[in-house]
Symmetry: C2
Subunit: 512 residues, 2 copies
């Protein structure tokens, strides 16, 4: 089960009149049996490899890439390096998150995150796709993301005391559009019916080909996509959750810019995607922000007194609300009757916290005096409306998917919740809002950044790379854009918890 | 049995909401089954291929390279081209000889030859190896040979009305040193004990990587070498003669800069190489020249009268002697007793043709009045001496090889004689000199430029490429440089026909 790049110990018989094999042939002969497949020395690496190998008197360590159909010997080291560095990357629309692994041990030895520099050219995916269509736009977007990755390489390298040029492999997990930007592949057909990517499953390329400041011959593995709306990040989630290997049926929910959901088990997999996420991240909610220092991640409102308490990540003064804070807040507002079943602010319950903000009626979460930099944290009615649409979309997606296969939520063994959404939200509050199904809390299992975890996994093991490659063909994609049933369900979900409260027996219902 | 590059007919199902496979994935799915192996679309070709494929509405012709361990889809054509052009190249020390094939039919459709521009930096291999060791020398030699190949591409393309960029593949057959120069691989270890090449069997590289003015993604196949002194040109010869597939034992003699000889059958192969060639080409003999217009290729001397007649290639005025002319001349001189058994000019028999030339005693082959540009053609004693060494080396090589396996010449079914040596010489005359064994003339079979023929063969058929790659490991190399027996034999061969005339019953022996 070789890693994406391997260090193979070499000890060749020495050249002699009786053994006049060429230097490269000698090296290949020694390494071929050890890497487990057909071995190639690419022309561009050949002369350098031969020289290093001869200088080391034909004993040392070969650096061998796994290129799926064959192996590729790209470097020769006289001495064993302290670590064999490889980077796993979650290529997100808003952030790039990376970890540096030592492939000799498989351990993560450094981590780093950076904002996606493409935001300058469009906050959301669609506006970036439009920007890519302008002259030179695609190239600018590619260079922006490459610059971001190179910065991450620099940071990660500093943490472990290596040079970025020592990084020997990269595994990338991202949505289909982000992968197109990275590959400088035209994304124009991604957002137009019938939504066809230029590429779902790219072959291995090399660091230098993409302009990455790592070893030029480092293989770049890209997690395959299922289609325009189901990206490699979701394949990573399936891999990290093990959904595709379980005998019992389970569900995976990944909320990022889109909500992507997979349902299934080791025999079948069905997936769909929809715009359910933005209200929970930055972008739509004015005070929304990514989970990070100063973000309110927990809110409690005592129904009886209306007293509000909160916690911030890092414990400092509040700057805004992250996804879990928003869900806590809105669930608390509902239980304190400060919003009604339609999500409309109720002045008579909200009292002094009901204010007229710059965008109309709003709820004052944190007064200016308490906020970071003397700024208040407010949550406006328009944010509530967006939140209501998001939660409705989410539950509609889940029910449409379940209905498609004729299963009831009760039949799910587990619901894996990926990303910071899964990490920070309280499923109890999400159930109160009617966003997640009313199931015992132990059914919900947060799995963290599974996009990054999947990228780490494929760096480590060939069988996982093979498994990933086979996954897209196993997944049935349910297209919601043209799904009439979904639209009907969506309307039914625009109440708290639902038009049909019997679906949420654990949630109190108030008469108007 | 695919050719090195194939044109594969593509007709993909059209994209739809029900079939949202990516463009490249769609193409690969359609082509994979047709090429017979694992298929890769290299990153550098991906975007262009996707665009062409979509513009042609997913129907057309894929250009697919055979990279041994996998196939590589590098281009997409909307319409079928008139031909699929590929070039076979005999990469010789003095000349580059090429043919252009249409791989759709396998036919040779154009041919061209050019002098090797490296001659400027050294007439023989050894002086070029020394030049390569000077600053920038190796690069200069690489560029010189690439420039030559590009000129051939230009000529061949003009002959068939295509652009050099349309050439889709190149197969190269040459000696080990020439291949090192082409690959810009340091040849320093080739000529120093224990004579180890940097590479014997290079993997496929691409036209652009070598700076060749052909299609950038054209695969460049290099015929593998056995070692420093047994090059890919010899592997070509084995392939072209079929030596390695015959039940009966046969021999292959290839005389170029070196004499390379292979003995064997389908069960075993033994080879050796030695410096037996130069006297037969340009270089050593002052009036020696390559077989071409103006070269004397046939000489007859009537023993009784001493009357000399000759023929030139092309029928024009004589400029010099090519290899077969030299052998004819020396055999004729011997039979007319104008030289003795040691190859020394005998004034009493040579008469007026015995002259004092600029390099000492010489034989006047053609008087100035008859020669091209009013120049005489003379053959000096020093040329005769070189010729004697060459013929002695040749016969010594052959007998050493035979003795090594305990076989007698009579047991050979066939002796294949490659190159212009085989094409032009009269085996009868070579036997008279004691250069070739005294066997019935039908045993000797000229096979022409088998280096070029081998390159053509591997362009056409995968099984021949596989066979070539396996050949070097099957060949036992007999090193003559350290062979005591060879040196003893060599001394015995420095007579015409031999110290032991009983080995050549068909050759008259004159008493002094």
């Amino acid at each position: 089960m070789p890693s994406l790049v391997q260090l193979i110990t070499v000890d060749c018989p020495k050249p002699s009149l009786q053994d006049n094999t060429g230097d490269i042939d000698r090296l290949k002969k020694n390494v071929t049996g050890k890497c487990g497949g057909s071995l190639v020395v690419p022309y561009g690496a050949m002369v350098r490899v031969a020289k290093s190998c001869r200088q080391a008197d034909f004993a040392g360590f070969a650096v061998v890439n796994d290129c799926k159909s064959h192996f590729e010997l790209v470097d020769f080291l006289a001495t064993k390096p302290a670590i064999l560095p490889a980077v796993a990357l979650d290529l997100g629309t808003t952030h790039l998150e990376a970890s540096l692994l030592d492939l000799c041990t498989g351990d993560v030895v450094a981590q780093a995150t950076i904002a996606n520099g493409q935001i300058e050219y469009g906050t959301d995916i669609l506006s970036r796709i439009h920007f890519a269509a302008t002259a030179g736009g695609l190239q600018i977007l590619q260079q922006a993301v490459v610059a971001g990755i190179n910065t991450l390489f620099q940071e990660l390298s500093q943490q472990v005391g290596i040079s970025p040029a020592d990084i020997r492999a990269l595994a990338v997990s991202g949505n289909t559009t982000m992968v197109h930007f990275l590959l400088q592949a035209d994304p124009a057909t991604l957002c137009r019916e019938p939504y066809i990517p230029l590429i779902n499953s790219p072959d291995i390329c090399h660091g230098a080909e993409l302009g990455l400041a790592m070893h030029g011959w480092a293989p770049v593995w890209i997690m395959p996509s299922v289609g325009s709306y189901l990206g490699g990040d979701l394949i990573s989630g399936i891999l990290a959750s093990g959904l595709d290997e379980r005998p019992g049926t389970a569900m995976l929910i990944d909320v990022g810019t889109n909500a992507e959901v997979v349902l299934g088990n080791r025999d079948w997999l069905m997936a769909c995607a929809g715009a359910a996420g933005p209200a929970l991240e930055g972008g739509i909610a004015r005070m929304g922000m990514r989970a990070g220092p100063g973000a309110i991640d927990k809110v409690r409102i005592e129904p009886a007194t209306g007293r509000l308490s909160y916690e911030t990540l890092g414990g400092g003064r509040p700057k805004g609300l992250c996804g879990s804070g928003i869900i806590d807040l809105v669930a608390g507002l509902y239980l304190a009757r400060m919003i009604d079943v339609r999500g409309r602010l109720q002045k008579r319950y909200a009292g002094a916290r009901f204010i007229e903000g710059p965008d109309g009626p709003a709820f004052l979460v944190v007064p200016a005096a308490e906020g970071a930099h003397g700024q208040p944290v407010i949550f406006a009615q328009v944010d509530l409306d967006a939140m209501m649409r998001s939660k409705a979309a989410m539950y509609s997606i889940l029910t449409t998917l379940m209905a498609q296969v004729g299963l009831d939520f009760k039949e799910l063994e587990q619901i894996f919740v990926a990303g910071s959404f899964g990490k920070h939200i309280d499923p109890r509050q999400a159930i109160t809002l009617g966003m997640l199904p009313d199931l015992p809390l132990e059914v919900f299992k947060p799995i963290g950044n599974s996009s990054l975890a999947g990228a780490e996994m494929v760096l480590r093991h060939r069988e996982l790379r093979v498994r990933c490659q086979a996954l897209p063909a196993k997944i049935t994609y349910l297209e919601l854009n043209v799904n009439q049933e979904f639209m009907i369900r969506f309307s039914g979900c625009r109440f708290i918890p639902h038009t049909d409260p019997s679906l949420f027996p654990s949630v109190p219902v108030f008469s108007e």
